[in-house]
């Protein structure tokens, strides 16, 4: 298990490094003056030249690259073109907002999906199985902005049950994550985005769990667990669902692959002050340092979640946890 964790961690670091490199190349391939991506064109000539030197933009590409990596690691991510705030400070606040929405939405989808998938397989071809399969196909084919907009129109604008956007009522004074998660207002604002995220993500874990569960239910050790005289709920949960869960963890990385796009859309629809919305705003305002850093931060978040999925898989599967083949 130790070797496995080390291996997964190294792989994650390598992936982050690769993403950073691709970002470096991409942002320098953009049309126009490459320096314009780091130095605001609004500044006067003298200031621009000074900054150019400071950022090493007059240096050869390879030196710039090394400098870029060094700045990344030391959290010197430059300043926003529009507000002149340090990019890191802007991100720090947005990062938590995204993590909250994504974390709650994903966990909600995973837990509910796994539970529903288990029930569907246990009573296969029952009303829940058929109903949920159809619902999953519908929700999966509806892009999240459609679901989100529909929810907003009906529940917020028509019925006034939920706020139309944002994370807190306008003008609320927020001084930290703790303030946010202990406020009832926050959860009121969270309902619709969470439903939207869940509607989008729920289908995959649910259907994967169902299929994997059906496969497990056909295996010899399930029949044997029944022969032992275990009550049905123990056979279903302890023997079948526990094993079927591994397939869900495996595909959850696939799910995470879609997470950046989905997050950007949901945050935009609900004006959620997270990194997804920030990325859209920054791109619209040509605020390159912010856009670049936001993209990288989102990517790192996804890579970390993937890492967590890998580790929990290793923890679920004793063949990885303890290793070792058969003996004599």
């Amino acid at each position: 298990m130790k070797a496995y964790i080390v291996q997964r961690s190294l792989l994650s670091l390598l992936t982050i490094f690769a993403v950073a490199t691709i970002l470096f190349i991409l942002f320098r391939l953009l049309p126009g003056d490459p320096t314009a991506q780091v130095i605001s064109p609004a500044l006067d000539e003298v200031a621009q030249a000074r900054l150019k030197e400071a950022y090493g933009l007059d240096q050869p590409m390879i030196v710039q690259y090394v400098l870029y990596l060094k700045n990344l690691v030391t959290l010197e991510w430059g300043r926003s073109f529009t507000t002149s705030e340090p990019v890191f400070d802007v991100l720090a606040y947005r990062f938590w907002n995204t993590l909250l929405l994504m974390g709650i939405g994903l966990s909600f989808s995973l837990v509910l999906g796994v539970f529903l998938g288990m029930i569907m397989a246990w009573w296969r071809n029952g009303p829940l199985d058929i109903g949920a399969t159809i619902a999953a196909m519908v929700s999966q084919s509806a892009p999240p902005f459609i679901t989100g907009l529909l929810l907003l129109i009906v529940l917020s604008y028509r019925l006034g049950m939920f706020p139309t956007g944002g994370m807190m009522p306008p003008g609320t004074n927020i001084s930290g994550v703790w303030d946010v998660v202990t406020s009832a207002q926050f959860y009121h604002h969270l309902v619709l985005p969470t439903i939207t995220v869940a509607a989008y993500y729920l289908a995959t874990p649910m259907l994967v769990m169902r299929d994997s569960m059906l496969e497990v239910l056909g295996s010899d050790y399930i029949e044997f667990a029944q022969a032992k005289g275990l009550p049905p709920h123990k056979v279903m949960i302890r023997h079948a669902a526990r094993n079927a869960l591994m397939a869900v963890v495996t595909v959850s990385s696939l799910l995470l692959g879609f997470a950046i796009g989905g997050q950007v859309v949901v945050e935009t629809v609900f004006s959620w002050p997270g990194m997804g919305l920030l990325m859209v705003e920054a791109a619209a305002r040509h605020d390159y340092p912010v856009a670049q850093a936001t993209f990288l931060a989102l990517a790192v978040l996804i890579i970390l979640l993937n890492w967590a999925a890998d580790i929990s898989y290793g923890w679920l599967d004793p063949r990885i946890k303890v290793g070792g083949g058969s003996h004599g």
Binding site: S219, D220, Y221, E223, F224, A225, Q226, A227, K228, G229, L230, P231, K234, H239, R242, N243, L316, D317, P318, R319, V322, G324, G325, S326, H327, G328
Partner: protein, 334 residues
């Protein structure tokens, strides 16, 4: 009597038709008895066990004139009571596929502890020390209990399954092909262990296999099964020394190693019938060299030839002739 079965039928209702996997089986097993059932692959051995342990799928219909365990009716017993009173306390199973019957994500010892604690009030520690004793009994190092199934070899898993079946001192241990799929040396060792255990435990054993030599070594009584029915059942001596059914005679020719080493191997031509077809007469008629016209029209009744020796054949009167002819290779040519 421990287990009494009269005219048990297990029919699978499939889209293609009704599969008569078990079709009118009658047998009884007494206390501290080893009862062997031998039969070719697909003749319904596992289905019989599934009916006994309530593991048949919903597509199967189970009927019987009598189906009792220590006098309690198994057909009408509620599921909950059956699980609590019968499974593992009274009837335990060594499944056909020991290789895949252990859940890969739990430690082997914990899976046995689970069986013990489901059916008794034993504490975890008591259950664990019971596992250690059981492992010792089947010849496994007690510390192996903390290992996962993938760290066990086939033979070790088979031993663990045997240990698990004995966990609660059941009245009856059902063993479905306990040695199939293991290499010959391991088979030999498991069999020796079983023979030794037999003298130490008080459970009865229902031993099921297609390997008639395994059954011959272990059983007090033997039934020969074919296409969902029992052709003949008798004490082990009687089955081998004076068999009555042509199928038993044919099997004996196919396994010469049991008694007569000098005879050459003769196999029965043809193959078992498809169980999806309803057969009005004897199921063996198609392959039987001694078939008569009436064999095909009427199902032969279970005849009690001697005490405890039952045969389902219409031609038992001509047995001297049939036995003589069965020794000839020419008889079995199709």
């Amino acid at each position: 009597m421990l287990l009494e079965i009269e005219n048990l039928k297990v029919h699978y209702h499939t889209r293609a038709g009704v599969v008569r996997a078990v079709d009118g089986v009658s047998l009884s097993i007494g206390e501290h008895e080893v009862f062997g059932i031998a039969g070719e692959s697909g003749c319904g051995k596992s289905t019989l066990i599934r009916a006994l342990m309530r593991l048949v799928p919903r597509t199967a219909k189970v009927t019987a004139d009598r189906f009792t365990f220590r006098g309690r009716d198994l057909l009408t017993m509620p599921d909950r009571v059956f699980r609590r009173d019968m499974l593992w306390n009274e009837i335990a199973l060594v499944p056909q596929s020991a290789m895949n019957s252990l859940n890969p994500v739990y430690r082997v010892g914990d899976q046995i502890v689970e069986a013990i604690r489901t059916h008794s009030t034993a504490s975890r520690r008591d259950a664990e020390s019971r596992v250690a004793a059981l492992f010792d009994m089947v010849g496994l190092q007690p510390d192996l209990a903390a290992r996962y199934p993938h760290q066990f070899s086939g033979g070790m898993r088979q031993r663990a399954m045997i240990a698990m079946s004995l966990a609660l001192d059941p009245s009856l241990v059902v063993m479905d092909e306990p040695t199939t799929g293991l290499d010959v040396l391991v088979q030999e060792r498991i069999l020796r262990r079983l023979a030794e255990l037999r003298t130490r435990i008080k459970s009865s054993i229902l031993l099921i296999t297609h390997d008639i030599s395994v059954i011959a070594e272990m059983s007090d009584r033997i039934a020969i099964m074919y296409a969902g029915r029992l052709m003949e059942q008798a004490g082990t001596e009687a089955i081998f020394d004076e068999p009555f059914h042509p199928y038993s005679l044919g099997l004996q020719n196919a396994f010469p190693s049991i008694r007569a080493l000098d005879r050459s191997l003769i196999s029965i031509p043809g193959s078992p019938p498809n169980l999806i077809n309803a057969i009005p007469g004897c199921v063996f008629a198609e392959r039987c060299p001694f078939v008569r016209e009436d064999c095909r029209t009427a199902r032969p009744p279970d005849l009690e030839i001697a005490a405890g020796h039952r045969v389902a054949c219409l031609r038992t009167a001509d047995i001297a002739q049939i036995r003589a002819a069965a020794k000839e290779k020419a008889t079995w040519r199709s």
